[in-house]
Symmetry: C2
């Protein structure tokens, strides 16, 4: 068997799965942002006809998965596995959004790293010979997340400049065994990194060290230079986390200034949309990738992308119990050509 | 490549990974139960020297993983992946219990199905050639779970007879590529099944249809009869769920009366321990397997076990929003000989 393991944390996919299709659904604010034209659907409000935000997010997951499968003219019975996760307690939107699919289901929790966690596991399931088609889905919703993690929205709390804006968005990617790209070629799975940050309004700083750790290990394990990629894209570090990441990578000998960006920086307009340090949430990376980046790869404007979703492993309970915020990040190398 | 897919929901592991070691830690009540002598460690109280139940559960996960790895004289750097999950919001015990390991980490959420979810993904990662050693860990804690899902313990609420007792327990299993068994040979991954049950004090009834669905699909996909196994063991259906499962399997043409049991039935003494319908929680299946069942397999008293952890995908929020309880179950076939 050809060696699949690369270094300490990475693997090479010997029969790289293709991303056959993606689907993205976002909220009104995301639709008004710079990436608006790339999303498959933009909702008019935060409820989408449902009575609660959690039900709206559940509907987003359900519709996003269904439309992703429909895009490639497959039906649910053609899908071997569905991998999904989100930020809400007990992953409600993913579980309830998947309940009518009848697709074998693996629920994931990696906070905002979940999208690349799902792509990682999904592509190993295909490359390993266990599946032909796998759907990976991730979501977040500003209102359900803020209510759960911070304050009731009705309070109208002021947000500090380091805070990020949880993206209302879902992204689904259909991975397939026999496609013509873009291909998932390499994975670097992150370990948990905790640098002692406790400020839940500065998630970018809490997650940046994990992003740096995974990015560095990816280059080390694969022997690739940072210039190998047209774009290195973290999930939701925002402006502050992006700056920290750029600096920390420089201290490790990597200049990523010219080809590095962050989904939380891309998805909102800093001047006009008042989102402070940028976007965050599981849906930030998922909708930016499934909307904008996948489009750019199909148009061959981007050929090699290193996508690194970044997660802050914390809860209101851990914050109340004075715990620090653990970070984690998983990198997925996506390439137009083999 | 040899075909790995079996039927609709199952896969055959071509190079079956071994379970090289397990470790289990339980609380005092579980230690006093019928399986007491099989657990690696029994704690004296619900805190284990920590200031909160969540921190105690976190310590249980941390120690359980560490001791499992130590049992086979390996160190953390020998472990390719750690897969873990639990019931607490944002999987706090798993994430915080894993943060010092420096092992590439995949967080999972499958409610009480998480233990076999982790064994499923872990064994595909090894069989597929991506890993040599994988640790799978799952936990629950009576106090942290009751507090989060039902009522403050201080209220002293009376529990209806259909209620189950969340197990305070952790189990870790070390999967390895080159072992001498017990082997993980087949997997059947469950789909979400929702039969409309809304009573959070009758989880057994909510999860039983999912257990039946997965068990039935396992027999259908693999062509095995129910008699193939010395023991078919569900995760935490308790007395009520076990009875429903037995009856529903009979209507589908399978008599499992003589070789079927449930971890929630085994772990407590019905007469003496006042746990009503039996044990539940992620840790119920994990500690029963990692303690009792693994011991019986090593002693060759059990040679073929079908382990089916069962999960109820619900949260206090979904209950308040009048949602039903979705069930899911994943089956793992564990055999002493190939």
């Amino acid at each position: 068997m050809e060696t699949k393991k690369l270094g300490k944390q990475s693997v090479k996919l010997v029969n790289p799965p293709s991303i056959a299709a993606t689907y993205s659904i976002v909220g009104p604010k995301e639709g008004e942002g710079p990436l608006g034209k790339y999303f498959d659907a933009i909702l008019d409000d935060e409820y989408w006809g449902e009575s609660t935000w959690e039900k709206a997010e559940t509907k987003m997951v359900k519709e996003c998965i269904g439309n992703c499968i429909a895009k490639v003219q497959l039906s649910n019975s053609d899908i071997d596995y569905l991998l999904a996760g989100d930020l809400i307690n007990q992953c409600t939107p993913s579980c309830f959004g998947s309940r009518e699919t009848s697709i074998p289901f693996f629920g994931l929790f990696g906070a905002c790293s979940t999208f690349t966690e799902s792509l990682s596991l999904g592509s190993m399931l295909i490359d390993g010979g266990y599946a032909t088609n796998v759907v990976c889905a991730t979501s977040s919703h500003f209102c359900s997340a803020e209510k759960q993690f911070r304050f009731p929205l009705e309070l109208g709390n002021q947000r500090p400049p380091s805070a990020q804006w949880t993206v209302m968005g879902t992204g689904s990617a259909m991975l397939t065994k026999n496609g013509d790209g873009p291909y998932i070629t390499c994975l670097t799975t992150g370990k948990i990194v905790d640098m002692g940050i406790k400020d839940a309004n500065n998630m970018g700083a809490a997650m940046a060290p994990a992003a740096v750790d995974t990015m560095y290990m990816h280059f080390k394990d694969t022997g690739r230079s940072s210039n190998y990629y047209d774009l290195i894209l973290t999930g939701d570090l925002g402006y502050i986390g992006k700056e920290i990441t750029t600096e920390l990578m420089e201290t490790r000998g990597y200049n990523i200034k010219n080809n590095y960006n962050d989904c939380g920086v891309l998805i909102f307009d800093k001047e006009k949309q008042d989102t402070h340090s940028g976007g965050s949430g599981c849906g930030c990376c998922a909708s930016t990738f499934c909307g904008y980046i996948f489009n750019q790869m199909q148009a061959k404007k981007l050929k090699r992308v290193l996508l690194i979703a970044t997660g802050a492993l914390m809860s209101p309970t851990t914050a109340q119990q004075k715990e620090s915020i653990c970070g984690i990040a998983h990198a997925v190398s996506i390439e137009s050509n083999l």
